[in-house]
């Protein structure tokens, strides 16, 4: 049997290729990993956030395929959970996502456009970097949930 990982060790899920039928695997990876890291109380918030981020990669990819390999890593720093999602698609800074309409009556309410809004509600920090690597440009999105190790199960930021 493998030695238990240190609580601050990084856990990685690599998806190549990454297709939408792997979203369930990503959510399961997060549930298991966050429990192992003592951050189970932040599971709902982080599962939703990472699902939204990863679904976007495929939706903005081509033919239902995210562009290039995608990598999700999870680690704990103190009481915070830190998740990094990396891909090689078109750069997109979520700071540029439009503000959604949450108040119009049903007939005027636009369908869609809530994904990034929900991510922002669920995490405390969202940081986007476009990184130059030997294999080309890499998108790196970092999601930080503060106090994840002591969060209540409903887990809103």
């Amino acid at each position: 049997m493998a030695e238990p990982l240190a609580s601050d060790a990084e856990r990685i899920l690599a998806l190549s290729p990454f297709t939408l039928d792997r979203l369930g695997d990503i959510r399961q990876f997060l549930r298991v990993t966050l429990a192992e890291l003592g951050c189970a109380g932040a599971t709902d918030a982080l599962v939703l956030s990472v699902d939204e981020v990863c679904a976007n990669l495929v939706e903005h990819g081509t033919d239902g395929l995210a562009p290039g390999p995608t990598r999700v890593s999870v680690r704990r720093s103190g009481d915070d959970a830190i998740i990094v999602v990396e891909d090689r698609g078109e750069p997109f800074d979520p700071a540029n996502a439009p503000t959604p309409d949450l108040v119009s009556d049903w007939i005027d309410r636009p369908i869609g456009g809530l994904g990034w809004f929900l991510v922002r509600q669920m995490v405390d920090e969202l940081q986007y970097d476009s990184v130059s690597t030997a294999q080309g440009m890499l998108n790196r999105l970092t999601l930080i949930k503060r106090g994840a190790a002591s969060a209540s199960p409903s887990g809103r930021a």
Partner: protein
């Protein structure tokens, strides 16, 4: 995700089990809109078995709600789990979508307005 469709007192109950994400949402919206376009516009989405939804589930609900109301019916929802309710509340859906604690209450609510709206 699994979908089970039954009729009760001129109301169509669509019971959903599992997770609604970008992959499964297409199947669900197709099932719901098939009912609405077939004239079964009074729909209860029984969400007791929905353990998770992303924003893809919100798109499904709003698409169906619009189609149903524009045809004189409605989409109502019952038995929402706390994590799913949180997504609906944060997104402002609880102000436009009628939510019920149980499926019987949701079905009965259609009778109260004569079923037309």
């Amino acid at each position: 995700m699994q979908i089970s469709i039954t009729q009760q007192e001129h109301v169509t109950i669509v019971a959903v089990t599992g997770s609604i994400d970008t992959l499964t949402a297409d199947t669900l919206v197709t099932a719901l809109l098939d009912e609405v376009t077939a004239g079964r516009t009074r729909i209860v989405a029984h969400f007791g078995g929905v353990e998770y939804t992303s924003s893809a589930g919100l798109r499904v609900l709003l698409s169906t709600l619009k189609e149903a109301r524009q045809r004189g019916g409605d989409l109502r929802i019952s038995d929402i789990r706390p994590n799913v309710r949180q997504v609906l509340e944060l997104s402002g859906f609880t102000s436009i979508l009628k939510c019920f604690a149980d499926v019987d209450g949701a079905v009965a609510s259609f009778a109260n307005v004569g079923g037309a709206r």
